[in-house]
C-alpha cells in the first residue's frame, strides 16, 4: 500500500499542489486526468522527488519519508522504489537501446554486466524491440523510443511506475504500440499512476480514475462510474470536452 498525505508544492506564490492525499493499493492502476496546468506532472515528479515538495509524507514499500525534508540518501531510496516514464521519452542520448535499460541495473543495482544485459534483453523482447539492441535513440521512431523508455522503467521492478502523458508526444501512428506495452504491464498488475489523455486506456484498464483541477483532487472513482456519472460539475465539463461522443 502506498500512502501519500498532505502533498503541497508551490512555485513562488503559485500553489500548484494543495494538500493531496492519495492511497494506491498494490497492483492498482490509477489514471489521473485534468485540464492543462493543473499540477498533474508536478504530482508525479513529487512522487520521486524530481521536484521537492513544500510538505507531504509518503509511505511506499517499507519506506516512510517526509518529502519536504528528507536527505539525499532517503531521496535515492525513494527513487529506487519508483520508475518514471517521460512524455518526451528522455532516453539517454549517449547509450543504445540495450544500455538505456541496463544502465540502472549496472549502476544503481550493481548487477554484473552479463546479468544486467541478459535482463535488459528480456525486457527489450517484452516491449517488442529485441532486434534494436544496438540502435541509438536518434535512430528510433518516437514509438520505439517510448517503448524503450517504458523498458527502462520496467528494469527497476518498481513498487510504483509513474507515467507522465506517455503517448501525447507521439505521432498518432505510434500510439497503439505504446499503449499495448502499457496494457501488458497493467494486466501483469504492475502498480501504476498514469497521467494521460487516452480515455480508452483509462476506461479499459484503470481501476480508478482521478480528476484533478487547481492542484486538488476533485473527484475519483472507477472509470465506469466517473465517466458515466460524474458528481462534480467541473468533472462533467472536462469530460464533455475530452469525450465529445459520450453522454455525461
Amino acid at each position: 500500500m502506498i500512502e501519500l498525505r498532505g502533498l503541497t508544492k508551490r512555485f513562488g506564490a503559485n500553489t500548484v499542489l494543495d494538500g493531496i492525499d492519495l492511497d494506491i493499493a498494490e497492483g492498482e492502476i490509477v489514471v489521473v486526468i485534468g485540464p492543462s496546468g493543473t499540477g498533474k506532472s508536478t504530482l508525479l515528479r513529487c512522487f520521486n522527488l524530481l521536484e521537492r515538495p513544500d510538505a507531504g509524507r509518503l509511505t511506499i514499500d517499507g519506506l516512510t519519508l517526509d518529502l519536504a525534508h528528507c536527505d539525499r540518501r532517503q531521496a535515492l531510496a525513494l527513487r529506487r522504489r519508483t520508475a518514471f516514464v517521460f512524455q518526451n521519452y528522455a532516453l539517454f542520448a549517449n547509450k543504445n537501446a540495450l544500455d538505456n535499460i541496463a544502465e540502472r541495473l549496472i549502476i544503481v543495482d550493481r548487477l554484473p554486466k552479463r546479468e544486467a544485459h541478459a535482463r535488459a534483453r528480456e525486457i527489450l523482447a517484452r516491449v517488442g524491440l529485441a532486434n534494436r539492441e544496438t540502435s541509438y535513440p536518434s535512430a528510433l521512431s518516437g514509438g520505439q523510443q517510448q517503448r524503450i523508455g517504458i523498458g527502462r522503467a520496467m528494469a527497476a521492478n518498481a513498487a510504483l511506475m509513474l507515467f507522465d502523458e506517455p503517448t501525447s508526444a507521439l505521432d498518432p501512428e505510434w500510439v497503439d504500440e505504446v499503449l499495448a506495452v502499457m496494457k501488458d504491464l497493467a494486466l501483469a498488475r504492475q502498480t501504476m499512476l498514469v497521467v494521460t489523455h487516452e480515455m480508452r486506456f483509462a476506461r479499459d484498464l484503470a481501476d480508478r480514475v482521478i480528476f484533478m483541477e487547481g492542484g486538488r483532487i476533485v473527484e475519483q472513482g472507477p472509470p465506469s462510474e466517473l465517466f458515466t456519472r460524474p458528481a462534480d460539475p467541473r468533472t462533467r465539463a472536462f469530460l464533455r470536452k475530452v469525450l465529445p461522443d459520450a453522454e455525461v
Partner: protein, 223 residues
C-alpha cells in the same frame, strides 16, 4: 637564397628523435588537464560554495597570465619558497605549467557543454536512482565531451606547440634540440624550418584524427 636541403634531411631524423618527449609531455599534460578541467567545470556548474570562489580565482589567474610567466614561476620561483620543490626538473615543471594553464581554458568549454546537456537527460538519470556523481560521470560528461571535443582537440594542438616553451626551462625537447643543432651548424633557417615542418605534420595528423574521432563520438546521434 640557397637552402641546404641535404642538411635538412640529415637533421630531420635527429629532431624526430625528440618528438616522443614532446608528445609525452603534451599527452600527460592533456590527460591531467582533462581531469582537472572536468572537476573545475563540475564545481562551476554546481556552484559548490567556497570551491566555486576558489576555482574562479584559479581560472582567472591561469587565463590572465602568460604561459611563459607561469612556467618560470614554477621552475625558477617556487623552489625558492617551497623547499620540497628544490629538485623539480624542467620536464615536470613544464607538464605542471601546461596542465594548470590549459585546464583553466578547458574548464570553460566543458562547463558550457555541461550546461548545454538537456534537462530531460538529468531528470531521467535521477529518476533511475543515480547519484549526482553517477549522473555526471555516466550521462552528462559523455554528452558534454562530445560537444566540447572539437575545442578540446584544438587545445591539445595548442598544447603540443606550447611544449616548445619547455626549452626555456633547459629541457632538450624538439625545440631545444633544434636550437643546439642550429648553434653548431649556423644553418638557423634550415634548422627552424625543419622543426616547423615537423610540428606542422604532427598537427595535421591530429586534425585528421580529430575528424575521425568526431565521427566516432557522433555515432549515437546519426541515423
Amino acid at each position: 637564397m640557397s637552402l641546404d636541403f641535404d642538411y635538412m634531411l640529415v637533421l630531420a631524423p635527429i629532431l624526430l628523435g625528440y618528438l616522443p618527449l614532446t608528445l609525452q609531455m603534451a599527452t600527460i599534460a592533456m590527460a591531467l588537464a582533462l581531469v582537472l578541467a572536468s572537476l573545475l567545470a563540475i564545481v562551476r556548474v554546481l556552484r559548490t560554495p567556497v570551491l566555486y570562489q576558489a576555482t574562479g580565482l584559479f581560472i582567472s589567474f591561469f587565463r590572465g597570465t602568460p604561459l611563459l610567466v607561469q612556467l618560470f614561476l614554477f621552475y625558477y620561483g617556487l623552489p625558492q619558497v617551497l623547499s620540497f620543490m628544490t629538485r623539480i626538473d624542467g620536464v615536470t615543471a613544464a607538464v605542471m605549467g601546461l596542465t594548470l594553464h590549459f585546464s583553466a581554458y578547458m574548464a570553460e568549454s566543458i562547463r558550457a557543454a555541461i550546461v548545454g546537456v538537456d534537462r530531460s537527460q538529468t531528470d531521467a538519470a535521477l529518476s533511475i536512482g543515480m547519484t549526482q556523481a553517477q549522473m555526471m560521470r555516466r550521462i552528462v560528461l559523455p554528452q558534454a565531451v562530445r560537444v566540447a571535443l572539437p575545442t578540446l582537440v584544438n587545445y591539445f594542438i595548442d598544447m603540443i606547440k606550447s611544449t616548445s616553451l619547455a626549452f626555456t626551462l633547459g629541457v632538450t625537447e624538439m625545440m631545444g634540440a633544434t636550437q643546439k643543432e642550429a648553434a653548431s651548424s649556423f644553418l638557423y633557417f634550415e634548422a627552424f624550418l625543419t622543426v616547423a615542418v615537423i610540428y606542422w605534420v604532427v598537427v595535421e595528423t591530429l586534425s585528421f584524427v580529430q575528424r575521425r574521432l568526431e565521427r566516432w563520438l557522433g555515432r549515437a546521434y546519426r541515423r
